[in-house]
Symmetry: C2
Subunit: 293 residues, 2 copies
């Protein structure tokens, strides 16, 4: 079994994993995401993290925003419907001859609405490697949550919802930050808010400022406020994506924390999702890509 | 007619107006809002702006976040239903004997949901001074838009929607900022987005990322993107506040730009609002307060 390196290089984080076939040998992580780098900084940044892993020429398979226009090298978007790595890999020119870097293609959708993804297609390849006959919907929660319809080994269509970024921005940048600090989470109020947003999605915009007023007038705790905000936003997302999950077979692939929240929200609506960890799906997906032309 | 000073001291801006009775003598403005000041900085900051207006002891009537807990002196909240300046003014202790500073009370609502305002109560007093028999709804668009039910000279109830702050945060802090820069506005796509959000409010969360994808895949302009975002958020606000404006007499009191947007949105729904400028209503409201105990 050959030695190779899996790289998940997103907007804010670089994660590298040394692999022997499909077995993990070592893992490293750095805060040098795509956002903090100019084009010529990618190679030295990667070498700074993994130089001692490179005995000789080594395949490096990379996914994520590293393939964006502002990344190391622009990788194509494959147009859905297609297999998750439906077009070829993009070879990156490097100065160090030990590096054989290839970036997996993203996915784009032109109809019924414009949409794009970079990074999640690799997790989807991992999901399909794990469940080859899966016919249903993958929910990949994160900064930009993806809802992905999978059938016959292909991505049929997908939809992005900015729930994670809205939560981070509202708790970090608006007047609500004074009422929502900390990182507590309380499932009861969360589920109530999910249900409320699903049954009356038109009130979302007005419910937000109540979190501030409830703190000022009633001393509502930050944990309660965060749980309600999270529930309102995830509930609004479930309202927007109802045709994607209602009566479908659903897989959730995310970090442990976001997976827990989406799992609880979907369970409260009678859906019993399967859970597949994001890290593991990324590695499985990159292992699939390794053998592509 | 006596000489006095009207002060509108908000989160980010200090506006002072020298008045002779109800006639404007001079106006000044500074970026020294409540957010940038500690408690002991308020008096020197005000003196720095208006020292030469103070021939002798002069009444200064102030409204806005200057009366918040983090402001110069905490002013009460009057509980609705009540007249917009339903409790007394808060006298501020000053070192300079020429300053006779009083802050108008804010408004709070405990039921059916918690809500607060500071500053808008003064504009509402101005609206009621202009239209004493008004029975209907005042819409005060801004960072935190207020919808206010007025009847028999009193504020019956109100609701805050964070539309302005969400627009600023989404265009300034999220990934959409790359696709929405500039300050263009196009009424056609704006009205279409208002209508779309009103008829399908549950899709808001999913519509946002389309603005980014439409830029990446179809080269959608920033002006188009901003107009659609503004329409989606104001449409969502109108969906949340439908009982406030449907079949009601509506007054809009805001800055020229936000007033134009809300006026166009409401007109597209068959409402014909009256427009009363915010600056003028603030001065009229403070003139009313001057004679309160």
């Amino acid at each position: 079994m050959s030695r190779w390196i899996a790289v998940d290089w997103g907007t804010s984080t670089l994660r590298a994993t040394l692999m022997q076939g499909e077995v993990v040998q070592d893992r490293r992580e750095a805060g040098t995401g795509m956002n903090s780098l100019t084009q010529e900084m990618f190679e030295p940044t990667l070498l700074g993290l993994i130089d001692d892993w490179l005995a000789g020429p080594t395949p490096v398979l990379a996914c994520g925003m590293v393939g964006a226009r502002q990344g190391w090298a622009e990788a194509r978007y494959a147009a859905v419907p297609c297999a998750p790595m439906g077009t070829g890999l993009t070879q990156v020119k490097t100065s160090d001859p030990r590096l054989d870097v290839r970036i997996v293609p993203g996915l784009k959708q032109l109809k019924p609405h414009a949409d794009v993804m970079r990074g999640e297609e690799t997790q989807i390849a991992g999901i399909l490697a794990t469940l080859p006959d899966f016919d249903g919907v993958a929910c990949l929660p994160g900064t930009h949550t993806k809802w992905v319809h999978l059938s016959a080994g292909e991505v049929v269509s997908f939809r992005t919802v900015m729930t994670g970024e809205l939560f981070a921005t509202i708790t970090g940048q608006t007047v609500l930050r004074h009422s929502l600090d900390g990182d507590g989470w309380d499932e009861g109020p969360f589920i109530d808010a999910v249900s409320d947003a699903l049954s009356r999605p038109e009130t979302l915009a007005a419910r937000l400022f109540e979190l501030r007023a409830a703190d000022l007038l009633h001393g509502q705790t930050a944990t309660m406020g965060r749980s309600v905000l999270s529930g309102l936003l995830i509930g609004a997302e479930l309202a927007a994506t109802r045709p994607w999950w209602l009566g479908r077979d659903v897989v959730i692939t995310g970090s442990p924390r976001t997976t827990q929240a989406y799992d609880a929200a979907l369970k409260s609506q009678g859906v019993a999702p399967r859970l597949l960890p994001a890290d593991e799906m990324t590695l499985k997906g990159l292992a699939t890509a390794k053998d592509l032309p």
